[in-house]
C-alpha cells in the first residue's frame, strides 16, 4: 500500500484566528451575588496559556469564607428563584443561550488560549454545544411535571458544582443549565487552569439580568473545591473530574444528606470488527483518542481490532496520524493542540515511560512540535495486554493502547473487564452485531459506527467507577430535583 506522506512533502500556511476582538482583564475577581468582588483571601493565581506557558491573567483564589459568601448569596437567591414562574425562569436561560451565541467567537478564542484546545474544536464543538445546552434546558423549566410520571418534582436548593479543565465552558453549561432550569441556585468552581471562560460567562450572566445570586462563580484549586463540598448549607454536589477525587468527595459526604452526581474517569473500549467500514473506522479511532488532545473522560483509549484486519487497520492508522498537525491551538489547521498544563504533560509522559518499560511497542509520529509550550505527539502502543498499566489506567492524553481479539465473546469480556464504564465504541456494518455489542457493553454511552458525539438532549454518564447519575437530556433533570 502506498503511503501518503503529507507532513514531509507539504507545508500548510498558518491560518491563525485573530485575537483582536477578545476582551480580557489583567485580573479577575469572584462572581458573588451578581457582582465581581475581591477575594477575602486576598490571593490571586496566574492562568497560563499552555501553548506558550506565558501568563494570560490573574484569577482570584476563593477561600472558605469566600465560598461561604457565595453559598449565602445562592441561598438567598433560592427563595425567590425557586418561586419565580417557571416560564420566566425559562426566558432568562434562553437569554443566556442567545448571548453565548452572539459572543461565540470571543468565547472560542479564549477557550483555546487558556486551555490549549484547537480553535476548530472550541469554535465548532465546545461553544455551540454550551449555548445549545442552555437552550435545551431553558425549555424544560416550565415542563418538569411531564418528565416524571406521577411525581411532583421540586428543586433541591443550592448546588455546589465543580468542573474540570478539558471542556471548561461546556462543562459549566452542563452544570448550570439543568440546575437553574429546575429552580436551584448554584455555586460553581471552574478548574484552576481554565477559569477564564467561566468568568466571561459570569460577565455575560450579569449582562443577561439573571437575578443576583442565582449563579455564583468562585475560582481556585482543590482547597476551594473542598470548601464547597464540605459546606453545610449546600444541598447537592455535582462533580466532574477524576475517579480519585470523586471517591474522596463521596467519602467526605458519607452520612450527610447531600445528593451527588459524579462524572468521573474512563477507559473507553473502541472495537473494530473485520466487517467494519475500515476507512471510516480509522477516522473514528482518530477522533476517539486524539479529539481534544485525548483530554476526554470518554476517550476511546483502548482499541480492540479483530485479528484478521489488525495489520491493515494499524497501517492505515499510522498513515492517518502522520498527517495530524500538532501545534498552535489558534491555528485553524491544527488537529492536536497544547497539553493543558505542565502537570498533565508530566502525567502523560510518565505513562508513556511506563508503557515502554512494561514492554509495549511505541509508535509516535514524527510531526514537528513548537519549541515553547506543552506538547505530545499522537502516540500508539502495540503489543500490550489487559494487564499493562497503560491499558488499565486513564492517561487523559493522546495515547492509544492497541489490542487484538478473535471472537465477539472475547472482546466483550475484555472490554467490560475494567472498573470504568463510561463509554465504548463499536464498528461493524452488521446490524445485529451492533445491537449485541451495545447491549452487552457495560458503559453509559455507546457509540456505534461513530465516536465522541455529544448533544444537550443525549444523557451522558458512567456505569461502575466512572460515576453516578446522568447529565444531559431528560435523564439529566433527575440530578437536580427531588420528589415531594
Amino acid at each position: 500500500m502506498s503511503k501518503i506522506n503529507i507532513n514531509k512533502s507539504w507545508k500548510y500556511d498558518e491560518a491563525l484566528e485573530s485575537t483582536s476582538h477578545i476582551n480580557l482583564k489583567d485580573k479577575y475577581n469572584l462572581f458573588i451575588d451578581g457582582e465581581f468582588v475581591k477575594p477575602l483571601s486576598k490571593k490571586y493565581f496566574k492562568t497560563i496559556n499552555p501553548a506558550t506557558n506565558e501568563s494570560i491573567s490573574e484569577i482570584a483564589e476563593a477561600n472558605e469564607k469566600d465560598v461561604d459568601l457565595a453559598v449565602k448569596s445562592a441561598r438567598k437567591a433560592f427563595k425567590s428563584w425557586s418561586k419565580l414562574y417557571p416560564k420566566e425562569r425559562a426566558k432568562y436561560i434562553f437569554r443566556i443561550a442567545r448571548m453565548i451565541q452572539e459572543r461565540a467567537k470571543e468565547f472560542a478564542v479564549i477557550e483555546s488560549l487558556d486551555g490549549g484546545k484547537p480553535i476548530r474544536e472550541s469554535r465548532d464543538i465546545d461553544i455551540p454545544l454550551a449555548a445549545n445546552h442552555f437552550f435545551y434546558y431553558a425549555g424544560w423549566a416550565d415542563k418538569l411535571e411531564y418528565a416524571f410520571p406521577n411525581k411532583v418534582p421540586k428543586p433541591l436548593g443550592v448546588a455546589g458544582q465543580i468542573i474540570p479543565w478539558n471542556f471548561p465552558l461546556l462543562m459549566a453549561a452542563w452544570k448550570i443549565a439543568p440546575a437553574i432550569a429546575c429552580g436551584n441556585t448554584v455555586v460553581l468552581k471552574p478548574a484552576e487552569t481554565t477559569s477564564l471562560t467561566a468568568l466571561k460567562l459570569a460577565e455575560l450572566i450579569k449582562d443577561s439580568g439573571l437575578p443576583k445570586g442565582v449563579v455564583n462563580i468562585v475560582t481556585g484549586a482543590g482547597k476551594t473545591g473542598a470548601a464547597i463540598v464540605n459546606h453545610p448549607d449546600i444541598n447537592k454536589i455535582a462533580f466532574t473530574g477524576s475517579t480519585e477525587v470523586g471517591k474522596l468527595i463521596e467519602r467526605s459526604l458519607a452520612g450527610i444528606e447531600k445528593k451527588t452526581t459524579l462524572e468521573l474517569g474512563g477507559k473507553g473500549a473502541n472495537i473494530i470488527f473485520e466487517d467494519a467500514a475500515i476507512d471510516q473506522a480509522v477516522e473514528g479511532i482518530v477522533n476517539a483518542i486524539f479529539f481534544n488532545q485525548g483530554h476526554v473522560c470518554c476517550a476511546g483509549s483502548r482499541l480492540f481490532i479483530q485479528a484478521s484486519v489488525a495489520d491493515t487497520v494499524i497501517e492505515k492508522l499510522k498513515d492517518r496520524i502522520s498527517t495530524l498537525i500538532v501545534g498552535d491551538p489558534l491555528d485553524k489547521n491544527t488537529d492536536i493542540g497544547a497539553i493543558n498544563s505542565v502537570e498533565q504533560l508530566n502525567t502523560i509522559e510518565k505513562y508513556i515511560e511506563i508503557g515502554r518499560k512494561e514492554g509495549g511497542e511505541i509508535y509516535q509520529t514524527e510531526c514537528s512540535l513548537p519549541k515553547k509550550g506543552n506538547w505530545c505527539p499522537p502516540t500508539l502502543f502495540l503489543n500490550v495486554s489487559q494487564s499493562h498499566t497503560i491499558v488499565k489506567e486513564e492517561i487523559f492524553g493522546p495515547v492509544l493502547a492497541i489490542q487484538t481479539f478473535r471472537t465477539i465473546d472475547e472482546v466483550i469480556e475484555k472490554a467490560n473487564n475494567s472498573p470504568f464504564g463510561l463509554s465504548a465504541g463499536v464498528w461493524t456494518e452488521k446490524g445485529s452485531k451492533v445491537f449485541k455489542l451495545t447491549k452487552e457493553l457495560n458503559a453509559g454511552v455507546v457509540w456505534a459506527n461513530t465516536y465522541n458525539k455529544f448533544d444537550p438532549c443525549s444523557p451522558f454518564g458512567g456505569f461502575k467507577e466512572s460515576g453516578m447519575g446522568r447529565e444531559g437530556g431528560l435523564h439529566g433533570l433527575k440530578s437536580y430535583i427531588k420528589f415531594e
Binding site: N150, T243, A254, C457, K464, R470
Partner: protein
C-alpha cells in the same frame, strides 16, 4: 397419645440450595413470651461471599431473559404464595402479628408481586427516551440492570417488606443477596421455599439470616456488588454503608420508610433505583 409436632429447621438460601451457614453458628428467635421458635443460621462473611459468586454468575442470563418471561416468573411466585397463604399467616401469628394484620401482610405481599410482574415489560418504556440530537444520528437511552445488588431488608414487615424491596430489584434484571429481617427472620426462609418452586433461576435471589451489625460491612464493601439497598434509619449504619461503598462506587439506596403497606410502597421508581441509563448512538446518514 397426642401426636408430636415436627419442627422445621430453618437454613439459608444460596443458589437454589438450602445449606447451613458455613460458620456453624446460630441465634435464637423467640416469641413474645420468650419461647424458642427456631435456631436460625447466623450467617457469616463467607456465606455472603459465596452468595455473591452465585448471584454474579447468574445475573447476565437473568437480565437477558425476556421481559415477558421475567414477568411470568414473578407472577408464578405470587401464585405459589397464594397457594400457601395459610402457612404464611400462621407463621406471622407465631411471631406476634395479629390475625388481621397477618392476613393483610400476606395478601399485600402477593398483590405486590403481581404489581411488579406487570411492570416487567413496561418500566423500560416509562424510563426510556429517543433523543432528537442535532446531527444525523439515531440516539436512544434506556435502562439496564445495575448488576448484583445486596439488600438489607426491613426489620418490620418481615414478608411484605422483603418482597417490596426484592421484587423491583429482580424484575429489573438484577440478582441479589438479601439479609432478612433480623428481628423476624423465619418467614424469609419460608419465602425462599416459595421462590425455589417458582421457576426463579437459582441464584437470582439469595437469602441470608443473621445480624446486621456483623454483615453490613461486607454487604457494603464487597467489590463485586454494584449496588446496596438499606432499609432502616440507623444513622451509624447509613454512614458506615456510605463510606464502605465508595471503594467501587457502589450505588447506595436508603429506604427510611417505616411502613411498607401504604400506597407509596410500590412504584416503578423502585425499579428505576437499580437501573443504569445507557445511551446508544448510530449514524443515520448513508
Amino acid at each position: 397419645m397426642s401426636r408430636i409436632d415436627v419442627l422445621k429447621t430453618y437454613k439459608i438460601f444460596i443458589g437454589g440450595k438450602f445449606p447451613r451457614t458455613e460458620s456453624g453458628r446460630f441465634f435464637h428467635v423467640k416469641n413474645k413470651k420468650g419461647d424458642l421458635l427456631a435456631n436460625m443460621c447466623l450467617s457469616s462473611r463467607k456465606d455472603f461471599r459465596n452468595a455473591v459468586v452465585v448471584a454474579r454468575n447468574l445475573q447476565k442470563s437473568w437480565e437477558n431473559t425476556t421481559a415477558l418471561n421475567k414477568g411470568q416468573i414473578l407472577y408464578r411466585i405470587a401464585e405459589m404464595l397464594e397457594g400457601r397463604k395459610s402457612q404464611f399467616i400462621s407463621e406471622l401469628l407465631l411471631t406476634g402479628s395479629s390475625k388481621s394484620l397477618a392476613k393483610k401482610e400476606v395478601e399485600q405481599s402477593i398483590d405486590r408481586l403481581i404489581y411488579y410482574a406487570g411492570w416487567s415489560d413496561k418500566f423500560q418504556q416509562i424510563f426510556s427516551s429517543v433523543n432528537p440530537v442535532a446531527s444525523n444520528h439515531f440516539n436512544f437511552s434506556s435502562p439496564q440492570a445495575v448488576g448484583v445488588v445486596s439488600v438489607i431488608a426491613p426489620n418490620k414487615f418481615p414478608l411484605l417488606g422483603l418482597i417490596s424491596v426484592v421484587a423491583p430489584v429482580i424484575v429489573g434484571g438484577n440478582s441479589c443477596v438479601v439479609l432478612s429481617s433480623e428481628e423476624n427472620p423465619m418467614i424469609s426462609i419460608s419465602f425462599a421455599e416459595v421462590l425455589n418452586t417458582s421457576d426463579v433461576p437459582h441464584g437470582v435471589v439469595n437469602i441470608l439470616t443473621g445480624k446486621r451489625e456483623e454483615l453490613i460491612p461486607h454487604f457494603a464493601s464487597h467489590m463485586d456488588v454494584n449496588s446496596i439497598i438499606y432499609c432502616g434509619d440507623n444513622k451509624e449504619e447509613i454512614k458506615s454503608i456510605e463510606q464502605l461503598s465508595v471503594e467501587n462506587l457502589k450505588r447506595v439506596k436508603i429506604y427510611k420508610r417505616k411502613k411498607w403497606d401504604d400506597k407509596q410502597s410500590q412504584s416503578p421508581y423502585f425499579i428505576e433505583k437499580c437501573q443504569e441509563i445507557k445511551t446508544t448512538w448510530h449514524p443515520t446518514q448513508v
